[in-house]
């Protein structure tokens, strides 16, 4: 499978710190996949995210995006265009005074001509379903709506990858679903690669692949079904198991005859009502 991002043997120290935040991390991101990077606070997952679009540069190793390298000053702007990033706090990434101004911000930075800009704004706002809010001001929007505007701003730049850096952790449940569904549609229909950084394993359940980060190192990598079987590893990485998994385990301990531990609520419910 073709790689869109390659992280090669990356080690990174924050200035003035003795222990590296990332220790020899190697990672391939396939084109069009949904990759979840999970880990506890301080596991280095957010630092890793900032490596992907050159906000931070590795002390050792290299990060390649398509044919570009984040360490090269000539490549950095094309990388930032290709790899869009949605941050945690919806308010602190809203630059414009209105929705359309905010979507335009990235385009203005890349010197897109005005006519083209208007076209792309209208097109990308539709793709996130916010066309009715074009002239609204940020304080009139909910958190989930602001995050969708941020996604529209990235879409307008015609990216290949969207990185969600804890983008749903400050949202209410409705906002969370709004954002995840928006991104899922882009991932499935338009083949945009999604990298979601999260400490919420529920969110990682639906990923194509999961990478577990622990103390600045990659502790595991694989499809969710395999990763979630490694309970000890997840616990040692400080992660809380998804609810349905915990429930199926508890039921099994109580003597309920389930074949295995189920990842999603639906699977678990299906198994439960089939019990004799």
């Amino acid at each position: 499978m073709e790689n869109i991002i390659t992280v090669k043997d990356v080690t990174f120290y924050y200035p003035g710190e003795e222990t590296p935040t990332l220790k020899g991390v190697t990672l391939d991101v396939h084109k069009g996949e949904w990759l979840s990077i999970v880990g506890h606070n301080g596991s280095g997952k957010s630092t890793l995210a900032k490596m992907l679009n050159g906000l931070l540069l590795p002390n050792e190793g290299a990060v390649y995006v398509s044919q570009y390298t984040t360490g090269l000053p000539d490549d950095i702007w094309e990388i930032r265009r290709l790899v869009g990033m949605v941050f945690q706090n919806p308010d602190n990434q809203f630059v414009g005074t209105s929705v359309q101004d905010d979507i335009a911000f990235g385009l203005e930075n890349f010197g897109v001509p005005r006519d083209e800009m208007v076209k792309r704004i209208n097109e990308s706002i539709e793709r996130v379903g916010m066309e009715a809010f074009l002239n609204q001001e940020p304080h009139q929007l909910s958190g989930g709506q602001k995050q969708r505007v941020a996604i529209a701003g990235i879409l307008a730049q015609k990216p290949s990858v969207i990185v969600l850096d804890e983008a749903t952790s400050m949202l209410d449940p409705i906002g969370r679903i709004e954002v995840i569904e928006t991104v899922r549609e882009l991932n499935e229909k338009e083949g945009i690669t999604v990298i979601s950084i999260t400490h919420d394993l529920e969110e990682a359940l639906s990923a194509d692949r999961v990478v577990v980060m622990k103390m600045g190192e990659k502790a595991a990598e694989g499809v969710p079904e395999d990763i979630f079987q490694q309970r000890e590893l997840l616990k040692s990485a400080g992660l809380d198991l998804p609810f349905s998994l915990k429930l199926s385990e508890a039921l099994r301990q109580q003597g309920v005859e389930l074949d295995k531990s189920y990842l999603t609520q639906e699977e678990l419910v299906n198994a439960l009502w089939k019990l004799a």
Partner: protein
């Protein structure tokens, strides 16, 4: 209580003045600051008053909004007027009581100065009443653009302005949240002597400051992630459009200036 705060004093309406380009309005308001000083007799002041009131009625801004803008300076106007009335000793003596002498020239001078101040404030208020803060920022950025040659950070200044404008409601919301949190823990912002009340604001301002710095840092990161690298090579979504009415308005102002020159003493 805080949601009632309006940013700036923009009065939304659809009028020829609202539709004017912010650049022409800025130029006109700035120019007006100078030509007001040309008036020095009843005729020229009459002309200025007529011009100002025609402009006001064109703007469709209700007079009470203008009055709001005038209120803070009324005291100053009255004070300067009295100062002139009592201290200028020209023309016929009108009234004398002890050391108090009022001359005809003083009264006229006092009225002229008061008129001058009022006209100035009315015209500049009209600028902010008919132009959104963001349009004023854009207009200023364009007008000051040539100063970039002398390394003046015009683009950065304009971006700072527009980001500040964007964050005012956000920070107001946050202030309210912190206020409620402190009130829930027994803080009292509304009663007690002024010193106590001022003290009560410290636990409000400190978290607000801390969070503003955090916001600034995160915003800078987000801007960088979206490819921001200064004003060089940037295009703009907000386009200012200079129409015929803008040229016409400036021509009218030039005509007024000419008339003032001809009619003044």
């Amino acid at each position: 209580m805080l949601q009632n705060v309006i940013i700036g004093q923009y009065y939304p309406a659809s009028s020829p003045l609202h539709r004017m380009d912010s650049r022409s309005k800025l130029i006109a308001a700035f120019f007006y600051l100078f030509i007001v000083f040309l008036a020095n007799n009843w005729l020229t002041y009459g002309l200025l008053i007529a011009f100002t009131f025609v402009t006001i009625s064109l703007s469709k801004v209700p007079l009470r909004f203008l009055y709001k803008g005038l209120k803070p300076i009324l005291l100053l106007v009255v004070f300067t007027m009295l100062l002139h009335i009592f201290l200028t000793k020209e023309g016929d003596l009108l009234y004398k009581a002890g050391f108090l002498e009022i001359y005809e020239g003083g009264v006229i001078q006092g009225i002229f100065i008061a008129l001058r101040l009022l006209l100035l404030v009315m015209m500049t208020s009209l600028l902010t009443l008919t132009t959104t803060p963001i349009d004023i920022t854009d207009g200023l950025e364009h007008l000051l653009g040539p100063l970039k040659k002398w390394k003046l950070p015009v683009h950065e200044f304009a971006l700072m302005m527009s980001i500040s404008l964007r964050f005012i409601p956000t920070l107001l919301q946050e202030t309210e949240k912190i206020m409620k949190a402190q009130m829930a823990r027994g803080a009292d912002f509304t009663s007690g002597p002024i010193k106590e009340r001022a003290k009560a604001f410290v636990p409000l301002l400190v978290p607000l400051f801390v969070s503003s710095f955090k916001r600034a840092e995160e915003l800078a990161l987000a801007m960088e992630a979206r490819g921001y690298r200064g004003g060089e090579g940037r295009t703009r979504l907000r386009a200012l459009e200079w129409h015929q009415r803008d040229t016409f308005a400036l021509l009218l102002l030039a005509l007024l200036t000419l008339a003032l020159f001809l009619l003044r003493n």
